[in-house]
């Protein structure tokens, strides 16, 4: 079997364009998923039924659906709701943010629960509001505890974004796909794609290991 690695160099900028889309999608989904997930995670701990039930429903609904279905939902639903077409990228961003938020929410709920109730009593007793107590005391401590789980989930999000190819979004995998259709060099292309995924994910999990070690030593 003879490899022709020029297929990579000849299409390098095209492929990197796809990787940029993948990274953009992953970063926006991670940031958006974290923000939404924090709110939902807090909602899952609320004493107010009107906040607890919708948050819980949201988490359970999302976590029982295959991601690919959620991607389809938003791709076909959003134009109906908004009354105008939206691009594949926008709909993918929304789908990933919402889907990943449900996973982040459970991590964050556990993180908040790991902080003793005495901390919030202490904050309240000097006149802090709920939001201030969360912001200055509970979330910073919880974040430290949950950093490894958050990074693990971020790696999963990065990998998950490849599913956006089903709605024709030209992310990294899809770009390789396009090149392959033209040049018929599947082995080289998909080896390269795999290598890039490996490098990105492996370095993220190294960071995660480091943080876990630091936590154990602390």
């Amino acid at each position: 079997m003879n490899f022709e690695w020029q297929v990579i160099s000849n299409n390098f900028f095209f492929l990197m364009g796809g990787l940029v889309t993948t990274l953009e999608l992953a970063l926006i989904a991670i940031a958006g998923g974290l923000v939404l997930g924090t709110l939902v995670g807090m909602g899952r701990l609320s004493k107010l039924k009107s906040i607890y039930y919708p948050s819980t429903l949201f988490v359970n609904l999302m976590r029982t659906q295959p991601l690919i279905l959620v991607i389809f939902w938003f791709y076909f639903l959003m134009p109906l709701i908004l009354g105008r077409p939206i691009g594949g990228f926008t709909s993918a961003v929304i789908a990933f943010t919402v889907f990943e938020a449900s996973y982040f929410a459970e991590i964050i709920r556990a993180g908040i629960q790991s902080i003793s109730k005495g901390q919030i009593d202490a904050a309240y007793s000097t006149g802090f509001t709920y939001w201030q107590a969360m912001r200055y005391f509970i979330i910073p401590q919880a974040l430290k505890n949950m950093m490894p789980s958050l990074i693990t989930q971020a790696v999963v999000v990065f990998q998950d974004t490849s599913l956006a190819y089903v709605i024709g979004l030209r992310e990294f995998l899809r770009s390789a796909n396009v090149v392959d259709a033209r040049e018929m060099r599947s082995v080289e292309l998909y080896l390269f794609v795999g290598l890039v995924y490996f490098i990105v994910c492996f370095s993220m999990s190294r960071v995660c290991k480091k943080l876990e070690l630091k936590k154990e030593n602390a």
């Binding site: 003793s116 309240y124 000097t126």
Partner: protein, 241 residues
């Protein structure tokens, strides 16, 4: 001044405060004792609204906690609280533990809050610990920081929930000394403690709780010398040996 009027509280089916009545006047020190599970912490936490109660009322300087218009955030700024397990913020340095509420809640400047915090650390005897993290302090030092943190808000009332019961014996005195000073300076205090030496020295009144009720109350002398209830007698026998 705190007025506790016919307060009852349930956790589900379980009645943890049973028709509690008590008045703490300005400048008074009231010591609350009683067996574990008798409702002391719950009573203390209901004074600053950390625990809601179903029946009765509590008035702090005339402000009713049952009034829906009452602003708990404002109320708590005037009532400091000290906890059995200190509850310092582990991710903040000692000085920041003390300054964060004055800065974020009262909008004081960093320098003013920092200066005040150093004065308070002098007062509790550990100014040299300002730049350390709470995890590097002994229990007694942490509890003194916690007292300084509460005092930084310049409260009118201080609530203490078993402030020395998580401490090694050799550290109890350093915390009690700070509390005695505070009592003598005229602070209004409600103190849950079994430190009867402290009670004898500064308490204006001692109340004994059992199963959510106040079953005995008195000045230190009457309480220690001739308690009326069997429960109080038995309790005193246990803690005074």
């Amino acid at each position: 001044m705190i007025e506790i009027i016919n307060v009852s509280k349930w956790f589900g089916e379980h009645k943890v405060l049973d028709n509690v009545n008590e008045t703490i006047n300005k400048g008074q020190v009231v010591v609350i004792c009683g067996p574990s599970g008798s409702g002391k912490s719950t009573l203390l936490k209901s004074l600053n609204g950390l625990e809601p109660f179903q029946e009765g009322d509590i008035r702090v300087d005339g402000i009713s906690l049952k009034d829906p218009k009452t602003n708990f955030i404002m109320l708590r700024q005037k009532m400091g609280m000290v906890f059995q397990r200190f509850e310092l913020y582990p991710h903040l340095k000692v000085l920041e533990n003390i300054t964060i509420a004055p800065i974020k809640v009262l909008n004081q400047s960093k320098s003013k809050a920092g200066q005040k915090a150093m004065e308070l650390l002098e007062r509790v005897g550990i100014p040299e610990q300002a730049e350390k993290y709470p995890g590097n302090l002994s229990g007694g030092q942490q509890q003194r920081v916690a007292i300084a943190r509460a005092l930084a808000m310049e409260p009118d009332i201080m609530l203490f929930d078993e402030p020395t019961s998580a401490l090694d014996p050799e550290m109890i005195k350093e915390v009690l000394d700070v509390m005695v000073d505070l009592a003598k300076s005229g602070m209004t205090m409600a103190v849950v403690t079994h430190e009867m030496g402290f009670a004898k020295e500064v308490a204006d009144e001692i109340i004994f709780m059992d199963e959510g009720r106040i079953v005995e109350r008195g000045t230190d002398k009457s309480f220690f010398e001739n308690p009326e209830s069997e429960r109080a007698k038995e309790f005193l026998r246990k803690i005074l040996i």
